[in-house]
Symmetry: C2
Subunit: 427 residues, 2 copies
């Protein structure tokens, strides 16, 4: 009896692996071009680490891990940020600043599957720690965009929408909401566009907010340019917004300097659900509006302290492979899957197999890729397969050429056939 | 309070990640040169999959995984072969033969740690399915060696020792042991060199073998050349060894054809502990004899059936990153860890920061790597850091050069400084 794979997780057959490697290469290249260094942590962490950052609720989404005879409670990592904070905190004094780190990490969340969401996925994180100003936020947004550009996407395909938790906080305070109530409002505001109007109204009512305050919050979230916000702030005389607005103006200017102006726009509706954000927040969407967010992140200046480290400003993002794969498919940007061997060797008679294998060893030792047919015959089929597999050159070993001490080589790109003396063949 | 990492697992800080990437690149390059295709499976599989292959005992070593409200029992993968068999069985009719697949996989085993063994590690697997003859065994042994050669190791550093389960089986049968008792003997024989003589004697006694049979088994395992085995077989008139011996002769000849003769030798002491091997088996060791096996594998022709597939011959190996890392360290073959940026930009006054950022964006968009100092000043320290980080060129933005519309560029390899007009600068 066959045994099934775990539900809502993926097997990567070679053609699936080719897409994953294609995406991961773009992530890695963009990170390196921007001077980020790669890091990683174990696939499991203590349950305590996730509870510390996200509270007990997170446990419902975790894959819990235990060992026979072991007392420790672990979980498969559902995100990388707590591990990042743990590792930076452990060597905080010794690490050169700024800390610019990226990772490409497998993770698991036990959620209901939907389009663009699976229970196991790969996520690219890029974070800058140790920089308080918006230059760090601009850097992480820019590197996220760079990877998408490498994958063939443009500002016509994707858009980064950003906001600021500091600004949102000042505005909510201006509406008479004390700071301790903000996280609950952020969590509901983040559902805008995902939940219906009715569901949202119910959630706000659940907070005990009067209809007028709810209406003002919802009007606020519709503001979609910094000019609109500035007019609103001036008109309503909301105090404490200046620094946040100046920071966002600077962010806009830095993104333009980095050549990413066309990709980015302010949107008060971008809130992010998690409590831990403290400054700019952003999400990236396909402009067609068909998919979940491609990427999301923001500033989290207080996490290092929470994880037992010294205070340290920080910002970063996560970008998953599932939505991105869907987007590439939608835009017809999937890579072609070909083995791409340099040489395919074929014996023309079975007595030559040993020579074929020796030649294969020589080609590989010279750093080129080579494979060989295990027996003679079926030339037509062998050439067809070589062509499909993207083989560069087919080498025929045997026949008249061999008796003259030569190989017959066909260049599969040009179609040209040539006879090359064995002792002069250099792969 | 700081939260610790899970015990006997590794955090990968950038310098650790550099070593891991160095090893993985050699594994991947060797695989591709030999025409293997990459695959992967989920990090968890059903418990049933591992029990099916290895019996209930395996459960002690597993990291068990469960979800709230989920009934399925999972485990973090402790090896890849059961998943390989599951995935090949699922598409057995459609896959082109031979199936030559490799993977580079994270896995976890809850074992006691010792030198070269951790609870989380990365393992390279390369397998050939669909080929019954020793050419497939030679291919997997050869690709394992190729990766080590790429890492700088030679036949003076490592050695592959091989044997055959078929031969061993025939010899044990010749000693009067029926086939159903062989797996228990293999499991004990595999402990040779790891357990003391006394412990081994006790284990053999536990099987109920008389002293004479035990002594003969142990003498058998000391045979260290095929010639010795052939003399033994002829002298003792052991039946049923011919095919296995001919297969091993062919394997020796194929390994020589592939240029790997110097690396390989027969050793009757190589048994492998697992029950599922059916033909040639092999392990790779450092010649200094200081470390655990670098790599181990063999033929497992009956696994596909066990996993619900059609019968299909198969062979392959696993090579872990931990022992290999120790070996590279012992041989002084660790890679140097440098960021290796193409350009480091430095503003000479803070008013030029925006220009620096624009230039950084241009360089990255041209596909080169670049980072920048966030403020002016500290030139001496900046050059020192650039030199340590392996920066190619330092670009100074500001000062007199800037007022002439130029950049000052220092090539860190040659030490040559030049002045380049901004509009003629091409990264």
């Amino acid at each position: 009896m066959k045994i099934p794979a775990p539900k809502q997780m993926r097997d990567f057959y070679p053609e699936d692996m080719a897409l994953r490697n294609h995406i991961e290469a773009a992530w890695r290249n963009a990170s390196k071009r921007a001077g980020f260094q790669e890091w990683d942590c174990p696939i499991v962490e203590t349950l305590e680490l996730y509870k510390r950052k996200s509270g007990d609720e997170i446990v419902d989404q975790l894959y819990s891990v235990s060992t026979r005879g072991g007392n420790d409670q672990f979980a498969i990592r559902p995100e990388m940020t707590p591990s990042l904070a743990r590792m930076v905190a452990a060597r905080q004094g010794a690490l050169p600043r700024p800390v610019k780190w990226f990772c490409i990490a497998r993770m698991c969340r036990h959620e209901q599957a939907q389009r663009g969401r699976l229970r196991e996925f790969f996520q690219w994180n890029a974070d800058v720690l140790g920089v308080a100003g918006p230059i760090a936020d601009a850097e992480v947004i820019s590197v996220a965009i760079d990877a998408l550009v490498e994958l063939g996407l443009s500002a016509a395909d994707v858009e980064v929408r950003f906001n600021s938790r500091t600004l949102l906080g000042a505005l909510l305070t201006g509406l008479g909401l004390p700071e301790e109530r903000h996280p609950a409002v952020f969590a509901i505001a983040d559902k805008r566009g995902k939940a219906t109007d009715e569901e949202l109204a119910k959630l706000y009512a659940g907070l005990g907010l009067d209809d007028q305050t709810t209406a003002r919050i919802r009007r606020l979230l519709d503001l979609s340019s910094l000019d609109e916000v500035k007019r609103f702030v001036a008109h309503e005389k909301v105090p404490g917004c200046e620094a946040a607005l100046a920071g966002l103006d600077e962010l806009v200017s830095l993104l333009a300097d980095l050549g990413k102006g066309d990709f980015c726009r302010f949107d008060m509706g971008i809130v992010r659900g998690l409590a831990y954000y403290t400054g700019p927040v952003f999400e990236m969407f396909d402009r067609a509006g068909k998919l979940r967010a491609v990427c999301g992140g923001g500033r989290y200046d207080r996490l290092l302290e929470l994880m037992g480290g010294q205070p340290m400003p920080a910002c970063g993002f996560g970008m998953g492979d599932v939505v991105l794969g869907e987007l590439l498919k939608d835009r017809n940007l999937l890579p072609s899957f070909r083995l791409g061997l340099d040489y395919q060797l074929i014996p023309l008679d079975d007595e030559r197999l040993s020579d074929v294998i020796r030649l294969t060893g020589r080609i590989r030792a010279a750093g080129r890729s080579a494979d060989f047919a295990h027996k003679a015959g079926g030339l037509g089929k062998a050439f067809k397969k070589a062509s499909e597999n993207g083989v560069g050159k087919v080498v025929l070993v045997g026949g008249d050429e061999w008796s003259r001490g030569c190989l017959k080589i066909k260049d599969m790109t040009t179609g040209v056939e040539s006879e090359v003396p064995l002792d002069r063949f250099t792969p």
